[in-house]
């Protein structure tokens, strides 16, 4: 019986606003080569492969066709999860727990710079009958949700802007990050209004990049590396896709996914047990909303924890020390991949200038973006 699954190798290209010099296949190849070198494994030795990708962002129908060659998966058990990397991670975890696979490699990438008009493309995710004729943009919906969240929790737009200031400053310490900056709360409030209370700087800009990770069962993991990063908890959840039916103030998808992951990891008191977290901040308010859903803050308390420095780099529960999506860039299906990458580097003590001292348990959480109510949570440890 397989008892545990660990991450034994990880590789990335880093993240950049545009990548005209490489194709997405070349980016994936680079990340895969680094991951396999890190794990000390040849792709021919890997039992199964997973890619996380969505057709429209790839510009292909059945885009899974083009995944095998650059990750070394030709004639291997390979599948595509049209979802976030953390959902693919959950599939990889389950594959190994069946006992049929010893190792699984997981890939996700973003080549957002190839897409001419991402907002228009994301518009195709809306219900074609009820919502699409209204021609909402994703940001319009996010602005409405931000209003509701602020109302229910007595949070202000200025407090949300402080998330941007923190995360972009954190990104200055992260060599992978594309959008690090020293800015002030006023800069955020003075940036273009997009869908008030949402301003341009409240929104994570897109970035390109690829990440590949290698998972292994406990025995194989310990044979490959001295410090596997163990998967302790996983949760994923989809609330209703219908905009009109959902609860706009609370991120129920994140709460339910977190409850599942905490139960699996045996964590009863998340705020006391989790050393640091990388959580979805695709919009500034989302970091605060997700902190509450993850029980890292009580309802309405997230903004106060932010202002008192609890979530800053030197705080009790540093959140998004990588810079988050606001500082690193929004990576679509690879969003969770970047968060897992950060967890692995921190837990291995390899995070350089942004290393948090003495960390053992980290949490990564993602949301699939407007108009979805889907999220996933992973809890990793180095013990």
């Amino acid at each position: 019986m397989v008892k545990r699954v660990g991450i034994v190798g990880i590789g990335t290209t880093g993240f950049r606003p545009i990548t005209p010099d490489v194709s997405y296949r070349e980016m994936i190849f680079e990340a895969a080569r680094k991951a396999y070198t890190d794990a000390g494994i040849e792709p021919s030795e890997i039992g199964g492969f997973i890619t996380a990708a969505e057709d429209f962002l790839e510009g292909y129908s059945i885009c899974d066709e083009y995944c095998p060659d650059q990750i070394g998966a030709v004639l291997k058990p390979t599948q595509t999860i049209p979802g976030d990397f953390i959902q693919a991670l959950a599939t990889g975890y389950m594959m190994i727990m069946t006992g049929a696979f010893k190792t699984v490699a997981i890939e996700a990438h973003s080549k957002a710079s190839n897409v001419k008009n991402i907002d228009e493309l994301m518009g195709f995710a809306f219900d074609p009958v009820y919502n699409r004729p209204l021609r909402e943009t994703p940001h319009a919906i996010a602005g409405l949700e931000m209003t509701r969240y602020m109302f229910e929790t007595c949070t202000s737009a200025e407090q949300c802007a402080k998330v941007v200031v923190k995360n972009k400053a954190n990104a200055m310490r992260n060599p992978y990050a594309a959008f690090g900056a020293e800015i002030s709360e006023r800069d955020v409030m003075n940036s273009d209004p997009i869908s008030l209370p949402l301003h341009r700087l409240d929104i994570a800009p897109h970035a390109d990049g690829a990440v590949v990770a290698v998972l292994a069962d406990g025995e194989t993991a310990l044979a490959l590396t001295d410090m596997p990063i163990w998967i302790e908890g996983l949760g994923w959840c989809t609330d209703t896709p219908t905009l009109e039916m959902r609860d706009w103030g609370e991120a129920a998808y994140a709460r339910i996914a977190a409850e599942m992951a905490y139960k699996m990891a045996g964590i009863a008191n998340p705020a006391g047990m989790i050393d640091f977290a990388e959580i979805c901040d695709e919009y500034s308010y989302k970091e605060l909303q997700h902190m509450e859903a993850l029980k890292l803050a009580r309802p309405g308390e997230a903004a106060h924890l932010l202002e008192s420095g609890v979530t800053s780099f030197a705080g009790d529960i540093p959140i998004n020390v990588s810079g988050g999506a606001l500082g690193v860039g929004h990576l679509f299906e690879a969003s969770g991949a970047h968060k897992i990458l950060e967890l692995v580097e921190q837990l291995r003590g390899e995070a350089g200038a942004r290393q948090i001292p003495d960390v053992n348990i980290g949490l990564a959480q993602v949301w699939r973006g407007v108009p979805t109510a889907t999220g996933a949570v992973a809890i990793l440890s180095n013990m």
Partner: protein, 388 residues
């Protein structure tokens, strides 16, 4: 092997039709409801949901899995979409098997949906963007062209005629007359196939399955739960899947080695040494008639180049030695891509339970196989089921 056993305990299929009035969400719901009702469960009993559906371009909906979530019964549940092109339908229960065999779930609802008719003027349009944007799209290929190349290569390699291949279409459309979901069941002759319009030589219209709308669903359960729910669980004893290189022009199209690789994985897991003897009934994917023959060979159910002869001799008929596609297959029941694969798995489930009605093959089969195939002629997915 020490693996957790996983059983199929319930199944449901909608009608397969050219243009469903229902939305994709509604089709998913119909199939899910039928599957849950068939084993006396409700959504509250379901731990997790997984959904298979092929390209987003059919519906024109980005992140189609998210859109279909509530139809598939995933509300506030762990839910994931998986995807391996045309091989998706048989991969769906494999993904569900991961959920249950890993111990993460005791009951997993597996849904496969396809609504091709939303794509105007014809779903073939969605396939124009499956080709490599640099090396292939400038040639403006259609999907039928590349299968015409493959069919021709298969015919030339083994000296098989168009009439030999047409027998598959005749058999499957005839078998489908007994399937309640069937879209294009018909009594036809080899001459009808040969006389139907040539789309791209050697492919004629009746060599191809239709475009369809439909959905299918199965309920998977762990051994402990399955034995409580039913006296006739059908066990998932072997799963296999493999993808070949995306550069299809560099391969020999005469033989689907990716199907063989997937089959070997499934046979190893199920402990099958001689597939042609140990498999009693099979549902290989038949979107084109030659593909059934091609896949029988890839699955090692017969020697290479022999499938057409066996078909002519009636070996693969419903009352033959090795019934192939007793459901009527994609050629007869219809081809809502992901749902077709799961329909084939359901056919084996019903055959092994002895509940296939007029389609029941003789001899009380206890071991069956379903297979699907997809992408750029590169993906193979195989599942082996046993009744004990």
């Amino acid at each position: 092997m020490g693996m957790r056993k996983v059983a199929i305990v319930g199944a449901g299929i909608t009608k397969f039709v050219r243009r469903a009035q229902e939305t994709g969400k509604e089709l998913s719901w119909q199939a899910s409801k039928m599957a849950l009702d068939s084993c006396g469960l409700s959504l509250d009993d379901v731990d997790m949901v997984t959904l298979g559906t092929a390209p987003d371009a059919f519906d024109g909906v980005h992140m189609k899995g998210e859109y279909l979530a509530d139809g598939a019964g995933a509300h506030r549940k762990p839910y994931m979409r998986h995807y391996v092109g045309g091989g998706t339908g048989v991969f769906s229960p494999i993904h569900g098997w991961f959920h249950v065999a890993s111990g993460m779930a005791d009951i997993c609802l597996v849904v496969a949906e396809e609504k091709m008719s939303s794509c105007h003027p014809h779903p073939q349009g969605a396939f124009l963007t499956i080709f490599d944007h640099t090396t292939e799209q400038p040639l403006k290929p259609t999907l039928i062209w590349i299968f015409a190349l493959e069919m021709n290569r298969y015919m030339q390699t083994y000296g098989i005629s168009k009439a030999d291949i047409a027998r598959v279409s005749v058999k499957n459309k005839g078998n489908a007359l007994d399937h309640p979901s069937a879209q294009v069941a018909e009594k036809i002759t080899v001459e009808d196939v040969l006389a139907s319009e040539t789309l791209c030589w050697p492919v004629n219209r009746l060599d191809i399955s239709p475009a369809s709308d439909g959905a299918a669903a199965v309920v998977l359960a762990s051994e402990r739960v399955a034995r409580r729910l039913t006296d006739k669980p059908v066990w998932i004893d072997g799963v296999g899947f493999a993808i070949d290189t995306a550069y299809w022009a560099t391969r020999d199209l005469a033989y689907p080695r990716y199907v063989e690789t997937a089959a070997r994985m499934a046979y190893d897991m199920a402990g099958i040494k001689e597939p042609a003897k140990e498999i009693h009934v099979a549902e290989p994917y038949d979107p084109f008639d030659y593909k059934e023959l091609h896949h029988m060979e890839g699955l090692m159910l017969c020697p290479r180049g022999e499938a057409a002869r066996l078909t002519a001799e009636g070996y693969t008929a419903r009352d033959g030695n090795l019934p192939i596609c007793p459901s009527g297959g994609a050629l007869g029941v219809g081809n809502p891509i992901a749902a077709t694969g799961l329909m084939k798995v359901i056919e084996i489930f019903l055959q092994l339970r002895g509940e296939a009605g007029k389609r029941q093959v003789p001899g009380k089969p206890t071991c069956g196989l379903a297979q699907a195939w997809g992408d750029l002629m590169q993906m193979g997915t195989v599942i082996v089921l046993r009744s004990h």
